[in-house]
């Protein structure tokens, strides 16, 4: 994709350049332009490209772009947007401004958008679009085709046509393909598929993602509880939602914020520093707890050798079970597998901890025997280390499974568990166990 545009070109040439670039790429370009360049770009590009670009922009850039437009162009832009994109744009604006924009729309459309704005964030209905076509089940194939050809708007989704009965309830779906190849004289009821793949307006977005993915649908109907069809959720929006979910999980696991490659060093520092500072401050707790064991430490300095290993291993196994659990929560009908998952993860944790503790025992014993350490018996230290590793790892893997699940129950993003609080907690547990056992053993 061309990432650089020469604004010294003539209007006509620039126009051609813009024509060849996809709206998404224009949107990537837009924030880096000078004000004058932005204005020229907005003036030159075609209306449909403008709306393609508009929907991909960040909120601030959207608002700025609008200031470059004439009243008539604003109207064109607002009316050409898909209902879900328009809703997203209006969502965070204050009521007054919302009204200002809704004025550009027809009464019916404005009502629909107002309704869309009322749905709760995590409900499937909040990501639906209302640009779909319904036909009556008693229509003939011919009439239906005519209706679609004459009444569909540019932004309407017509890959599937939704069929309703006399009570306006959704009864089935027709793939446009089947409508096109249907013979004259057939009726919609004869060719529609009465499948039951749909979602209720107040179902969760996760459920919508699952359904679209599992059934390989390009769109699914959204129904109210009387089975009236109120919208569709399309696969491209699902794709965006899914990407966002995974990105967020990844970023939280890595303690980075909303990272993009274009960020400068200073921006990166600013974004990540809070996490690091929290981690340092939390370490203060670790430090204070550790200092209570100073006597043990001074008496048996050899303990220090294995401290990083114990902390590290507990952290590692915790990360594993945490990651499995976060991925698990994304899976279909995880609700039913919850108990099984917990039991399984805990058993795996204990099993692997036991194996690693045994190996650690042998290692510590060998190392200390070779070093020929003075006062302490290698077997004793090895016992302490092995026991501490076993307990610390078991507990850490248990936390890795339980904490995200609990957060999920409380409707907090389970991936938040992958932060410094968890790490510090695991560190403290591991240290207290290690030096606690050592204190009992040696003092």
């Amino acid at each position: 994709m061309s990432r650089h545009i020469n604004f010294k070109h003539s209007d006509a040439l620039l126009d051609k350049v813009f024509d060849a670039i996809h709206g998404y790429d224009l949107a990537l370009l837009y924030p880096s332009l000078e004000d004058i360049e932005k204005k020229r770009m907005v003036d030159l590009i075609k209306d449909d490209k403008l709306s393609d670009m508009f929907v991909e922009l960040e909120k601030d850039d959207q608002l700025e772009l609008i200031t470059y437009l004439s009243q008539s162009k604003i109207k064109k832009l607002i009316t050409s947007l898909e209902s879900d994109d328009l809703k997203e744009f209006l969502e965070d604006l204050d009521k007054e401004t919302q009204k200002l924009y809704l004025k550009y729309l027809s009464k019916v459309k404005a009502k629909t958008i107002e309704l869309l704005l009322t749905y709760e964030d995590d409900h499937a209905a909040s990501m639906m679009s209302t640009d779909f076509i319904t036909i009556d089940q008693n229509m003939s194939v011919n009439d239906a085709t005519n209706k679609i050809v004459t009444s569909s708007k540019d932004q309407d989704y017509i890959d599937h046509i939704y069929v309703i009965n006399d009570d306006k309830k959704w009864v089935g779906t027709i793939n446009i393909k089947n409508l096109i190849i249907a013979r004259q004289g057939q009726y919609i009821k004869d060719i529609m598929e009465g499948e039951d793949i749909f979602i209720f307006a107040d179902d969760s977005i996760e459920k919508a993602i699952d359904i679209v993915q599992d059934y390989d649908k390009n769109a699914i109907p959204v129904l109210d509880h009387e089975h009236h069809m109120i919208g569709i959720i399309t696969a491209d929006d699902i794709f965006d939602e899914l990407t966002q979910d995974y990105e967020e999980d990844y970023q939280k696991l890595a303690l980075i914020g909303d990272h993009t490659t274009s960020l400068t060093s200073i921006q990166r520092s600013k974004q990540r520093l809070p996490w690091l500072l929290i981690a340092v401050l939390l370490n203060l707790v670790t430090v204070s707890i550790l200092s209570t064991f100073e006597a043990t430490l001074e008496a048996v300095t050899v303990l220090v050798l294995f401290q990083p290993m114990i902390l590290g291993m507990a952290g590692n196994i915790g990360t594993q079970s945490l990651a499995v659990t976060i991925l698990g929560i994304h899976q279909d009908n995880f609700e039913n597998k919850r108990k099984k998952h917990i039991v399984k993860e805990i058993s795996i944790g204990i099993f692997n901890s036991a194996i690693l503790a045994t190996i650690a025992f042998m290692f510590v014993y060998t190392l200390l025997s070779i070093l020929g350490s003075q006062s302490v018996n290698p077997g004793d230290v090895a016992q302490v280390v092995a026991l501490a590793i076993f307990l610390a790892m078991s507990i850490s893997s248990m936390m890795g499974a339980l904490v995200p699940l609990t957060l999920d129950r409380l409707n907090i993003d389970p991936a938040s568990a992958s932060g410094p609080i968890m790490t510090t907690f695991n560190d403290i547990i591991a240290l207290v166990l290690y030096f606690g056992i050592a204190t009992i053993m040696f003092l």
Partner: protein, 438 residues
């Protein structure tokens, strides 16, 4: 459920199978016993069986295939989308693979798909599309659409080729239906993003997502239209890749669905490796026993230093792995920025650690040593290790890539352990230098 239905008469089973969606069928299939599966095979039509196989993982699909003779296998292939069929064939034992490929037509779409690597765009392609010639008038074009509709996956997008059969754009079905003669395809087609068959699949998938494309045209080097990659396939592939990235960062092998012991053993190699590389930490620490014995309080701040450096390394690593897995350009510039970021962050948390240590050691009465110099050692080591951390975290994946090892094996825990070694050497080393005389 399928399990219960299988106890009924053949007629009832058939009726049930007629209505169930392939995905639901696949889900309940997994719960069947071998006998029940046998029974299902005797009743189910080839078409539905092909549908079932499509919704199962390719390796399970291949197992089902292996239960049947060649003739039936070929029938099943005929009912499947070429991309799904290619996936299954690639999972079969080598002999079975060859035998089955022999039976396929020379021009079979499946054959053309098998030649692609898993990470090439061509491997995820379906080749059932409606092609329109640029010179067609809209009436003729509509006729072509109606004729070919039953054979293809979708007619929402129609693909336009020029006189030389080269891909030049698309026509939206809506636009075609609304157009009237004397318009021709030439008047209503528009340019459209496309992908080359040899392009990495990751790139094609992000194009599909960014441009919100339901059917991405795939062409060869000469711009001949080979097929499309559909959004639903892209979605599945994306999810797989995203999961892999996530698992790698957590030092987790690919998730498998099996019993406790098997899963545990599956995960243990990573843990063992991590344990193995943490052994040098103990060895390194043992070199500094003298200073530790002399200034025991140093030990208290060791988790602070290792932990912070580990966090910084994980951040850099995640960013770097992401770039590598997405094939993004500008790794050099990114590495440079990461290192600068490390310097800045290291300085800030180094100063903070200095203050914390100073306050803490001053308050702690049991101490004879100079709190200021201990705080200085802690602050300085922290800064230096946080400075080194991004350098290690950028260079290791890049070096691994150079040796053609999947850079993602350098997971978070792996890097953190490596950082531990340098952190401890630095910390106790500095302490010996600066406090050694006490």
């Amino acid at each position: 459920m399928l399990k219960d239905v299988l106890k009924e008469s053949k007629k009832q089973i058939k009726a049930y199978l007629d209505h169930i969606h392939g995905y639901d069928l696949a889900q309940s299939f997994l719960e069947l016993s071998d006998d029940e599966k046998e029974k299902l095979y005797t009743v189910i039509s080839n078409e539905k069986l092909a549908d079932l196989v499509t919704y199962l993982d390719a390796d399970i699909g291949a197992q089902i295939f292996a239960e049947f003779d060649l003739i039936k296998q070929k029938h099943l292939i005929d009912y499947m989308d070429p991309d799904d069929a290619a996936d299954i064939i690639l999972e079969l034992e080598e002999e079975d693979q060859e035998a089955l490929i022999q039976t396929l037509d020379k021009e079979s779409d499946v054959l053309s798909l098998i030649q692609y690597n898993e990470d090439q765009t061509g491997s995820a392609m379906t080749n059932l599309v409606v092609k329109l010639d640029i010179s067609m008038d809209v009436k003729k074009a509509t006729k072509r659409v109606i004729q070919e509709a039953p054979e293809v996956e979708t007619i929402s997008t129609l693909f336009v080729v020029d006189e030389n059969d080269k891909f030049i754009g698309i026509v939206d079905l809506k636009k075609l239906l609304k157009a009237k003669t004397p318009l021709t395809v030439k008047d209503i087609y528009e340019e459209h993003p496309y992908a080359f068959d040899k392009d990495p699949i990751i790139e094609t998938i992000s194009k599909i997502r960014n441009y919100a494309i339901y059917e991405m045209p795939v062409v060869d080097d000469e711009m001949h239209l080979l097929g499309i990659v559909t959004l639903d396939d892209a979605l599945d592939i994306y999810e797989e890749e995203a999961k892999e990235d996530f698992e790698m960062l957590a030092a987790l092998p690919e998730t498998i669905e099996s019993g406790v012991i098997k899963t545990a053993l599956h995960r243990i190699p990573w843990l063992l490796m991590l344990l193995a590389i943490s052994i040098p930490i103990s060895l390194v620490t043992s070199l500094f026993e003298e200073i530790i014995a002399a200034v025991a309080i140093l030990v208290i701040f060791q988790p602070l230093i290792s932990g912070s450096a580990g966090n910084v390394a994980t951040q850099t690593l995640a960013v770097t792995l992401r770039m590598l897995s997405k094939n993004e350009e500008g790794i050099k510039k990114n590495s440079y920025r990461e290192i600068i970021t490390g310097m800045i962050n290291g300085l800030i948390i180094g100063v903070l650690a200095f203050v914390i240590t100073l306050v803490f050691t001053t308050m702690s009465s049991s101490l004879m040593t100079n709190p200021l110099s201990i705080a200085f050692v802690v602050g300085l080591s922290l800064w230096l290790t946080v400075l080194i951390a991004p350098i290690i975290a950028v260079s290791i994946p890049l070096v691994l890539k150079l040796f053609k090892i999947d850079p993602a094996v350098a997971s978070g825990p792996f890097i953190t352990t490596l950082i531990d070694i340098s952190a401890i050497s630095l910390y106790f080393g500095l302490a010996t230098l600066l406090l050694g005389g006490v």
